[in-house]
């Protein structure tokens, strides 16, 4: 294999200017993969972040022939391209050597696209399928939303990273200023309009709002985050008092009372709260599909859009989501303290069970290993597969600058072992001398934060055990000894 230095002189085949998030694993992986390919490549992508962010018509970030068809058929679409290649080559209509690479996210591979992938593996197409596994369906607000910032009301499209935006402190029920740490293009989504007495906001069905839960006489009321799809008419949500649209106005922090605000049972407002009150949901209706954006706010995971307190949207669990991760469809609650309750699907081994000639698991933090695996796969006759862990700052909730560090942690803690299966023979390609405690992995990301509470110790122990068991079975498959 040529050195990385040599490889890096290769022309970038995925150009800059695409709209993937800072710190997104997908673009890093794609660049490493394309660096590894020696022959011309034709690529397909499933619907998902990679596709949406790299090809907003009339622009494309691809300097290679590239096709996207739908969510579940990256594999079968490319199998048609590859069949055409074989046919035309046999007929003497084409003489170039071309390699074929299909890309899919975990949703498009583990879940909805599993059948198409399985079919491709069984039929023996000469292509490499790469799953960029960010472990959930990543996901928002309409671009017309007005956001409360330090400098007054701004359209969401005008908010910049680093701007101070107002958020609702869920412990003290106070208004607080927090830094916006990211703005995300979420593409076209069905947008709903939610209307209260004084406010209306457009957001996607999975966008969470802060809803008042009345627990009855003598009991304390509390607030819960609920998505539009979970809300009904009459639900009471936290809104801002007196929002004048477009008017810039300053908040006086000194006027915000500290302490636990109570909710008046008869009048729908927070007693003595200058800025927030409760209003009933009057109407929820589907408006139309619209382009959507979302903000990430440090600390408090909420901000104020169109006078209504909303949560950062994020992620829906897929069958690649690890047990214990909080997503918007596997949230943490009293009854379910661990978030996602089921372990993830072990897709790499499922693919290996198809007796595909080359199957591997890789990680962008170990680029040498990844590049070597891609080159091996591309030089293997028949269907090959590489499952690559793709860190997602948004969904996993960490600072975008830490992506590669976090990817590395996945290997060091045994969450994402690096191995390959060549003609049925398992081989571990990199094994840390001593496995780091799982806690390091869990501590690095917001999606696992709830697991670190004392009462969830048992869950962490269970997860630790799972990593151990999984390692043991992998070592057995690879014929290696378990470390002491």
């Amino acid at each position: 294999m040529p050195s990385l230095k040599v490889l890096s002189r290769k022309k970038e085949l995925l150009t800059g200017g695409h709209r993937l998030c800072a710190g997104c694993g997908a673009s890093i992986i794609v660049r490493q993969v394309l660096m590894a390919a020696e022959d011309p490549v034709v690529m397909s992508s499933a619907t998902g972040c990679l596709e949406v962010a790299t090809t907003i018509y009339p622009f494309t970030a691809w300097r290679i022939p590239w096709i996207h068809c739908a969510f579940e058929n990256s594999a079968s679409t490319l199998s048609g391209v590859e069949a055409a290649y074989r046919s035309l080559k046999r007929q003497g209509k084409i003489d170039r050597t071309i390699k074929f690479i299909a890309f899919g996210g975990d949703g498009g591979t583990y879940d909805i696209g599993l059948q198409a992938l399985s079919g491709v593996l069984e039929r023996g197409h000469n292509l490499l399928y790469i799953c960029y596994d960010n472990q959930a369906y990543m996901n928002c607000l309409s671009t017309s939303s007005l956001i409360m910032t330090e400098d007054g009301v701004k359209r969401i499209t005008e908010v910049k990273e680093g701007d101070e935006v107002y958020a609702f402190d869920q412990k003290t029920y106070q208004l607080v200023l927090k830094k916006c740490i990211g703005i995300f293009d979420n593409g076209i989504k069905d947008v709903y309009e939610l209307t209260t007495l004084h406010h209306s906001i457009k957001a996607t069905a999975n966008h969470p709002f802060l809803v008042l839960k009345r627990n009855g006489r003598g009991k304390k009321n509390n607030f819960v985050w609920q998505t539009i799809s979970e809300m009904k008419m009459g639900d009471e949500i936290v809104v801002l008092k007196n929002l004048d649209e477009g008017e810039s106005f300053k908040f006086d922090f000194n006027k915000v009372k500290k302490g636990d605000y109570k909710v008046n049972r008869f009048k729908n407002f927070l007693i003595d709260n200058k800025y927030f009150e409760i209003e009933k949901v009057r109407d929820i209706k589907l408006v139309r599909p619209e382009p959507t954006l979302d903000l990430r706010v440090e600390g408090e995971h909420n901000f104020i859009a169109d006078g209504i307190v909303v949560h950062n949207t994020g992620i829906q669990r897929s069958s690649a989501t690890p047990e214990g991760a909080a997503t918007t469809t596997s949230p943490v609650g009293k009854a379910i303290p661990e978030g996602k309750q089921r372990p993830r699907k072990d897709l790499t081994r499922i693919v290996a069970a198809h007796d595909a000639p080359y199957v591997a698991q890789a990680n962008p933090a170990y680029y040498n290993d990844l590049i070597k695996k891609v080159q091996k796969a591309l030089s293997t006759e028949g269907p090959t597969f590489i499952n690559v862990l793709s860190p997602c700052p948004r969904g996993w909730r960490y600072d975008p600058s830490l992506s590669i560090q976090i990817a590395k942690l996945a290997v060091l803690t045994g969450v994402w072992p690096l191995y390959e299966v060549e003609k049925g023979q398992y081989r571990i390609t990199y094994r840390p001398k001593k496995r780091h405690p799982l806690r390091e992995w869990l501590e690095s990301q917001g999606r696992f934060r709830h697991l670190l509470r004392d009462e969830n110790k048992g869950i962490v122990e269970r997860l630790e055990k799972q990593v151990e068991e999984k390692e043991k079975s992998l070592l057995a498959l690879a014929g290696e000894e378990t470390s002491a």
Partner: protein, 393 residues
């Protein structure tokens, strides 16, 4: 000169496919299409076609593979029925929007549920808004002829749309008829060589297929699709004439029978048109002014041409072998009635839903339809706008 063969509809289709010799054929078996795929598999096994056959694990993947192959510059074909077409649905729309000239034989079968394997047109009629050209065939000969013409229509530079050629499940697919075939050379000369100007395999000039197309361009792209559909009307006519020059069998947008001077007309698609034709011949001999308008091309819908040939007709009965639940009648009926709306003296138009799930239709029922039309012209009154033929009520 070609051969005269005894072929079922499925076999005639497979024979046309053999002569077309597509670069890629991706298919999944489903009754009553199965014999086509089986027969073609034999051609592949014997090495008499150059085709790369992709035996996919589902129709969804069949259409996906066809889409990929067509985008790679290959001539791609498939065949399916009913639920198989329904499973392809999502990708059918995408194939049309990418302007890929994929050819699909649809052996019409009732779309579940409850499950039923026999003929009606609910499968292809359901896909009528997918952006595919739809050509209905009356018999095995037409299934063969239409499939060959479809290649030319789809690949015409200003059209570049996918085409489905349909024929009735079992009634045609499994009935053996006399089929005149062309010579292999004649077919390959007629269809010519396919060249996709935007092939994925042209690695020196990379193209991006299927980008995210937002509100700033999507609408214009849809408008172009509409335009291509409209233009295809004259292309279908032109190729029908060229095919006639080659084979002696000329094709137009509709297949008309005794429409000159006709007062009472039945509109029908598929094999039923043949049954109606025999009734028309019989009644004409008795001097009755009856005629048949055979729906051949349903998408694009030749509204202007239909209004023209029905001018002067007193009453029209449209036979629909599918239902549009909650609509004002069957899909063909709604189109025909709408096409006649601007006529100064439009005929009375009634609708008969028939043959769902393979329920047979015979000459007696068709004669009764003509009787009803006659009564309408006498009484000048339509008692029942949408009726049912052969239904126990």
């Amino acid at each position: 000169m070609g051969k005269i063969l005894g072929l079922t509809g499925d076999e005639a289709t497979a024979e046309a496919m053999r002569q077309i010799n597509p670069d890629v054929l991706a298919a999944y078996p489903i009754t009553p299409q199965t014999e086509t795929v089986q027969r073609f598999s034999e051609f592949v096994a014997e090495g008499i076609v150059a085709t790369e056959m992709v035996r996919v694990e589902s129709e969804h993947s069949a259409m996906s593979a066809c889409l990929g192959a067509a985008a790679a510059g290959a001539r791609a074909m498939t065949a399916t029925s009913a639920n198989g077409l329904a499973l392809m649905w999502e990708i059918c729309y995408i194939a049309a929007s990418y302007r890929l000239p994929i050819i699909m034989a649809v052996v019409n079968r009732a779309l579940s549920g409850p499950i039923n394997i026999h003929c009606d047109h609910s499968d292809s009629m359901g896909a009528r808004d997918a952006g595919w050209i739809q050509i209905y065939s009356e018999n095995c000969q037409e299934a063969y002829d239409n499939l060959i013409q479809a290649i030319r229509i789809a690949e015409e530079e200003k059209v570049r749309l996918p085409v489905m050629v349909t024929f009735d499940g079992f009634i045609i697919s499994h009935a053996m008829e006399r089929v005149e075939t062309l010579e292999d050379d004649e077919v390959s000369q007629f269809i010519g060589k396919y060249k996709n100007a935007y092939s994925l395999l042209d690695v020196d000039s990379p193209v991006t297929y299927g980008p995210l197309d937002l509100y700033d361009y999507y609408f214009e792209h849809k408008r172009q699709q509409i335009e291509a559909m409209e233009i295809s009307l004259e292309v279908i006519q032109k190729i029908g004439r060229e095919f006639g020059d080659l084979s002696g069998r000329y094709y137009d947008l509709m297949g008309n029978c005794h429409l000159e001077g006709a007062e009472l007309v039945i509109v029908a698609a598929g094999s039923t048109a043949g049954t109606v034709k025999s009734v028309v011949d019989e009644l004409r001999e008795r001097g009755e002014k009856v005629g048949l308008l055979k729906m051949r091309v349903f998408r694009p819908f030749p509204a202007k041409q239909i209004a023209e040939v029905l001018r002067g007709v007193k009453a029209v009965a449209v036979l629909d072998r599918s239902v549009s639940f909650g609509a004002q009648g069957g899909p063909i009926f709604m189109e025909i009635r709408s096409a006649l709306f601007d006529e100064i003296k439009p005929p009375a138009v009634v609708n008969y839903i028939y043959g769902l799930g393979g329920r047979d239709i015979g000459v007696d029922e068709i004669k009764r339809v003509y009787k009803n039309l006659e009564r309408i012209t006498h009484t000048k009154k339509v008692d029942e706008l949408v009726g049912y033929l052969g239904l126990r009520e």
